[in-house]
């Protein structure tokens, strides 16, 4: 136990005794907490701007952060701090345009419009925003606590009980599960996974001749990771948005809901007591959903809202506002559920190295670009007396997340109330600007026009995925996990004496493989 406490303390120290950003009255101000603050404010602004999203801001920030902090282990915590700040801020910020303009800033804030906008229309936008912020931060904090407890525990169990065949089977189960639960059909989910795996195998392999390159020398090192991921995830979304506007979609913003003056527009007595049970229940739902890789915050928000509607109907007093007409419980249930996803989403990343959502993808990209930290079960090795630096970073990340929550509690509310103006930026200006920023950010990292063509190509692929209703995230996750999967399988095959049935050589790996099959068959049958 003492070694655990020692590592927690080292993680806290790593954050607060890292490089100083500046000195105030002779006291050095450490850079990592300031980066969390910067990321949080950026994230709230991005979340409050419809058409932008947390992953976009993370994509653009990453090369800038790496340029500033370099490729040394000292860079890890400041860079993670900023990215974690964006992740937390964007979740809160998405509620701003949903409440003020009936326009969700992020897809998971869609349900927030149902009660948030009517409350704002009735002259209480500040009250609606405050309820959203309190519920969101509570859900997020609860989810982070579950992460802090579960991730190390899960990683220790995985490292202690799973050998190479079981780890291979676990990776297959994760990828299959993501394919089965995301998108409109299992077939399309599996197609995304298959293409992601195949794209990742280009230019790699163990022989001296790189495979699957069509003889193109630029592909001998494979597709640049950043270019491929940002292409599918960000550029594809931009292309779709541009086409929607070319078709004559709504590029402008709806009539502004200005903050009403002179109305009793703040938290009212009894509000906290009224929303508390809804926040608690939704935080639990969001955390459970978030711990499953690939299951998004939109589902969590929908489930949270549905359960809240049922509870509200059963216990409604005559004077209570109905759901859909500006009920504070409706805002609270949605915001707590969608925010509780973000912390729990990091459980599979930190404990297994398996990214479950787009934000986790960018944390892995940052770790991969900087080096010195490989998310996965090996991180949580409590070695003594020699210190495991990766474990110190992991507890540093937990410290940064706690700082993010604290800042969100203290200043998130007032900052988000001032962000309503961002919802008025027209999308026909925003999208091309974000495209140029993304392409420049990729070039700065890869310094090759070929990387821009790769980004464009993967952007077209992402666009076609979206137009054909093929989910994008399974492609990205398969692309990231393809090489660890192949490497683990090669080692497992060799370690079991070239046993072709190595995936069924133990009960655990056989169970994982059967669970993969069950995910495809059962989840597929439900949707056919």
């Amino acid at each position: 136990m003492s070694e655990v406490l020692n590592y927690i303390w080292l993680g806290v120290l790593a954050v607060f005794t890292g490089p100083d950003l500046f000195s105030l009255f002779g006291i050095g101000i450490p850079v990592a907490p300031i980066m969390v603050l910067g990321g949080l404010l950026t994230g709230i602004a991005v979340g409050a701007t419809p058409g932008l999203a947390g992953p976009m801001a993370m994509a653009i920030s990453l090369p800038i952060l790496i340029s500033i902090f370099g490729f040394t282990p000292d860079a890890l915590l400041p860079v993670f701090g900023f990215l974690i700040g964006i992740m937390k801020g964007a979740t809160v910020g998405g509620a701003v345009p949903a409440i003020l303009f009936n326009m969700p800033g992020t897809p998971d804030a869609l349900m927030t419009t149902l009660d948030g906008y009517p409350m704002a229309q009735s002259g209480q936008p500040r009250r609606a925003l405050r309820i959203a912020q309190l519920s969101s931060v509570t859900g997020d904090t609860f989810s982070d606590i579950v992460l802090f407890v579960c991730a190390p525990f899960l990683a220790v169990v995985v490292e202690a009980y799973l050998d190479l065949p079981e780890k291979t089977a676990l990776l297959i189960l994760s990828i299959t599960f993501i394919a089965a639960v995301m998108g409109s059909s299992v077939g399309k989910g599996l197609l995304a996974v298959g293409l992601g795996l195949l794209a990742s195998f280009v230019g790699t392999g163990q022989s001296l001749t790189p495979r699957l390159t069509f003889g193109v020398p630029e592909l001998s090192g494979g597709f640049p990771l950043v270019a491929a991921i940002l292409g599918v995830l960000i550029v594809g979304e931009i292309f779709k948005g541009i086409e929607d506007l070319v078709r004559g979609g709504n590029s402008g913003r709806k009539g502004a809901q200005t903050l009403a003056e002179g109305v009793k527009d703040r938290l009212q007595p009894g509000d906290i007591r009224r929303i508390a049970p809804y926040v608690g229940r939704s935080a639990l739902i969001g955390t459970i959903i978030g711990a499953l890789p690939g299951v998004g915050s939109t589902l969590a928000a929908t489930l949270g809202y549905s359960y809240a509607t049922r509870r509200h109907k059963a216990r409604k007093q005559p004077e209570d506002t109905a759901f859909g007409a500006g009920a504070p419980e409706g805002i609270a249930a949605t915001e707590a559920a969608n925010s509780a996803v973000s912390g729990a989403n990091l459980i599979p990343v930190l404990s297994l190295g398996i990214p479950g959502n787009a934000a986790a993808v960018f944390l892995i990209l940052a770790a991969d670009s900087i080096g010195g930290f490989n998310p996965g079960p090996a991180v949580f090795r409590f070695t003594t007396p020699e210190v495991n630096p990766e474990l110190v970073i992991a507890f540093g990340i937990f410290t940064l997340m706690s700082i993010g929550n604290l800042l969100n509690w203290l200043i998130g509310g007032s900052f988000m109330r001032s962000m309503g103006v961002l919802a008025r930026i027209p999308q026909h200006i925003l999208l091309p600007v974000v495209l140029l920023i993304t392409l420049t950010a990729i070039y700065v990292q890869e310094t090759s026009l070929f990387a821009l063509w790769v980004t464009f190509g993967f952007g077209i692929l992402g666009y076609l995925f979206r137009r054909s209703d093929i989910p994008v995230l399974p492609f990205v996750i398969a692309f990231i996990l393809a090489q660890p999967l192949e490497q683990t399988a090669r080692e497992a095959f060799a370690a079991t004496g070239a046993n072709p049935w190595f995936l069924f050589s133990s009960v655990t790996s056989a169970v994982f493989m059967l669970a993969s099959l069950a995910a495809v068959v059962l989840l597929g049958r439900n949707r056919m």
Binding site: F214, H428, V444, Y463, S468, M528
Partner: protein
């Protein structure tokens, strides 16, 4: 029986492409087979993982074909001729932007630069080093805004210039070791 023709076509195309990958692409573009034997020990070859991925793609194609039987013809989004036309225009704008980025610097140096100088010698010198990025970047942003507004406007050009200027301020001014496009290639 209802059938979604778009999904059916997608499923069949995917199956054909998977078969091509399994029987033509992977065997001809990998140096080792599915299993290789080195000094009497068997190990997984470079063709194993791509073949399994292609098999998975083929299986997904079959599933999509089966799923298409349960959907109505109108159900779900699909790629239309309008989408393909949009992609053609988008590709044109992107191609022109990259070409402008790549060649306007050398062209300007050739026309107005010091005598005998080539772009490579001046790629660290103002204003030459930023010329390609500003012209290509402005064209990309301005072109896309004009496409969405269906008219060319000075606002679109100004937004493009401002974006390029902002990126220069973020990347080029504070960091001497960062190269903006296309200077890493020249």
């Amino acid at each position: 029986m209802h059938r979604n023709t778009a999904d059916l076509a997608l499923g069949l195309c995917v199956v054909v492409l998977a078969l091509l990958a399994i029987f033509a692409w992977v065997p001809n573009d990998t140096a080792t087979g599915i299993i290789q034997k080195i000094r009497g020990r068997q190990s997984i070859g470079d063709a194993m993982a791509p073949t399994l991925a292609a098999l998975l793609i083929g299986l997904s194609g079959l599933l999509i074909t089966l799923e298409s039987r349960r959907k109505s013809a109108q159900e779900g989004p699909h790629v239309s001729l309008f989408n393909l036309g949009f992609l053609a225009i988008l590709t044109g704008i992107f191609l022109a932007s990259v070409l402008l980025m790549r060649w306007s610097g050398p062209l300007l140096v050739g026309l107005f630069g010091p005598e005998g100088a080539v772009y490579r010698d001046l790629r660290d010198t103002m204003p030459w080093k930023l010329s390609g990025f500003v012209i290509g970047g402005t064209f990309l942003v301005g072109g896309l805004i004009s496409l969405m507004q269906r008219r060319v406007s000075w606002t679109a050009v100004c937004v493009g210039l401002l974006t390029a200027g902002l990126l220069i301020a973020v990347f080029d001014l504070p960091f001497s070791d960062i190269l903006l496009p296309p200077n890493g290639d020249l």
